[in-house]
């Protein structure tokens, strides 16, 4: 199920602008890796290269390799659509499809892979995924209501349910809690802790405590100045990063002495 990711010599561009430079990183399977760093250092940009969502932006491209269990995602014969079916993504702002019911939202990705699922299977899958996202009890009586009628936190968990319904190998989350209240945030953090037994999870967060709470490993990104590309400063076990980082920049950022 879960797979490891090896990133080598990765440079990421928006047209001519190099947004992220020379990333080397390994992401372990069945673990949570957190990306932290100041705004604009390229965390989202890098995250989006892990499922080839980066290239949907006109002019955006990458150099280097991102290998999942040894297979380069950017190989010539790799279909980006296939990559995205294996690497799920949860966005900063909850984005359930407003024209679909809650149940249809959960099944949206499943239906892409498999047009004909029996009604019973579909119901099972909806229940399983919503339970997996800790949302089942709140919505089980209104599965045919529009997904946009839920609260922000519920919508975000619906998006997680939608992402895990297709049983991806990897789950990417870009600041999944930044639009949520503390209670919903805790609900999602608990969820992440449960999901990591099955998935490889990468999460971008601006919240140090959150990174410390949910992640096994933490990567710190930084940029030297505006117009400069963002770089990976260091990646290590979360405990090490937060207690004894190797780099001074990391320590400054974590302790709030940044800039």
């Amino acid at each position: 199920m879960a797979q490891r990711i090896d990133v080598k010599d990765l440079n990421i561009y928006y047209s001519d602008f190099r947004a992220v430079a020379d990333i080397e990183m390994a992401v372990e399977p069945r673990s949570v890796t957190a990306f932290i760093g100041p705004s604009g250092c390229g965390k989202s940009t890098f995250l989006r290269t892990l499922n080839r969502m980066h290239e949907v932006i006109p002019g955006a491209h990458v150099q280097g390799t991102v290998a999942m269990d040894g297979v380069d995602l950017y190989g010539a014969d790799v279909d980006p659509v296939a990559v995205r079916r294996q690497v799920g993504m949860v966005f900063q702002r909850p984005n359930p499809f407003p024209t679909m019911s809650i149940a249809d939202n959960v099944l949206a990705g499943v239906r892409l892979n498999n047009k004909r699922i029996s009604k019973g299977d579909a119901q099972d899958m909806v229940e399983q995924s919503l339970k997996g996202a800790n949302l089942w009890n709140e919505v089980k009586d209104r599965l045919d209501r529009p997904g946009s009628g839920l609260s922000g936190g519920q919508q975000q968990r619906l998006c997680i349910a939608r992402a895990i319904a297709v049983k991806p190998q990897v789950l990417l989350m870009d600041e999944p809690c930044s639009a949520l209240d503390p209670i919903s945030t805790l609900a999602i953090e608990d969820l992440i802790a449960e999901l990591k037994s099955e998935y490889t999870i990468v999460i971008v967060t601006h919240n140090m405590q959150q990174a410390a709470r949910v992640s096994d490993r933490t990567a710190f990104f930084n940029l030297a100045g505006t117009g400069q590309p963002g770089r990976l400063i260091e990646i290590d076990d979360t405990a090490t990063i937060f207690s004894a980082p190797r780099e001074q920049a990391t320590e400054d950022y974590i302790s709030g002495r940044f800039g």
Binding site: V83, R85, N95, P98, T99, A108, G109, N113, P146, A163
Partner: protein, 340 residues
């Protein structure tokens, strides 16, 4: 479009609480003039809205008053006095086939135009490279600027001879299908040709509105679909089309309105008739209300004019009904429209 979402702009209220107390008074002054401007704007907007309603009512009243002599007169008397009704038993009997012909032509035009318009709109909004898309959009907009007389000429002189063999073939080979039955016209001055010309005429407006709506699809929803592993077409089906649905319906209604009321093109192409006939390949079967008015008006006496205006009233009513129906369709799945 009422369905488009835009992130709430941070208004002055969001920043004013952070301001120091000093410039408070000046600020309040600015506020009240803001409020004055906003009130003026509200009146302006309300006025414009009211004006439209007043115009609508005025048109309806005008039609009813002018049509009243014909409507209120007993049928036998009317039939006797008005030459137009020489083959009809009453006013209703006269206007019925006209309504039928009008609706049939417009419906066919809509059936031809909508899929093509959606296709072009999607191509320009989501497939074509930017340069090509804007050229194509420009050409489509040009089509809207062609006067309907020109379409009429084109339909009668160019299109009819070209499609005639096709219509003959359809009649011969698919003649069991009710629409293609009957005696095929040797000149192709028939309703199907009219419907095609009407489709071309309403294509630009439907395309332009649909394209704008498709371009408004929130990036967030498109990316949600792509991140699930949707191909571009699947993304369009999951995110773009549902989002644009009500806008496309509105666009189609705009087009339908134009097709229902189109006069010149029908007048110049169609060989008219007054039957409830589905034979769209046969000459002398149907006629549209607007074309009939234009054709008969010059020679009508006052009561004849009143009769024609009564048919115009029917056209007005059809257009209203069509629009109300479209609203109802749009509203039916409001919860799921993404407007909340």
């Amino acid at each position: 479009m009422s369905t488009t979402q835009s992130p709430p702009a941070p208004g002055p209220a969001a920043t004013s609480s952070l301001e120091p107390a000093g410039p408070r008074r000046r600020r309040r002054g600015a506020r009240s003039s803001d409020r004055g401007a906003s009130r003026a704007f509200r009146w302006l907007a309300t006025g414009a809205g009211a004006l439209i309603l007043i115009l609508l009512v005025a048109v309806a009243v005008f039609l009813v008053i002018k049509a009243w002599p014909a409507i209120s007169m007993p049928s036998d008397e009317l039939v006797e006095k008005v030459g137009l009704l020489r083959n009809s038993s009453s006013l209703l009997d006269y206007v019925g086939p006209l309504i039928f012909g009008t609706v049939l032509a417009a419906t066919l035009a809509l059936i031809f135009a909508v899929p093509v318009a959606i296709g072009i709109a999607l191509f320009t909004s989501h497939y074509a490279p930017r340069r090509l898309a804007s050229t194509l959009g420009y050409v489509i907009d040009l089509l809207a600027a062609v006067p309907s007389v020109v379409y009429g000429l084109w339909g009668a002189l160019v299109l009819s001879p070209i499609v005639q063999p096709v219509w003959a073939w359809l009649n011969e080979n698919v003649g069991w299908f009710p629409l293609f039955a009957g005696k095929v016209s040797p000149t192709a001055r028939v309703l199907l040709t009219v419907a095609i010309v009407l489709a071309v005429m309403i294509l630009p407006i439907i395309t332009a509105v649909s394209r704008e709506v498709f371009l408004q699809t929130p990036r967030l929803h498109e990316e949600a679909a792509l991140a699930l592993g949707a191909t571009r077409w699947e993304m369009i089906r999951m995110a773009v089309l549902p989002f644009g649905r009500s806008g496309v319906i509105s666009a189609a209604m705009l087009g339908l309105g134009r097709a229902l009321g189109e006069t010149m093109a029908v007048l110049m192409i169609l060989s008219p008739g007054f039957l409830y006939s589905f034979h769209i390949l046969e000459a002398g079967q149907q006629q549209s209300i607007a074309a009939n008015i234009a054709a008969q008006f010059p020679e009508a006496d006052p009561l004849g004019v009143s009769t024609l205006i009564a048919t115009g009233l029917a056209l007005f009513a059809i257009t209203l009904v069509v629009n109300v129906a479209a609203r109802a369709i749009v509203a039916r799945r409001k919860d799921f429209s993404g407007a909340n």
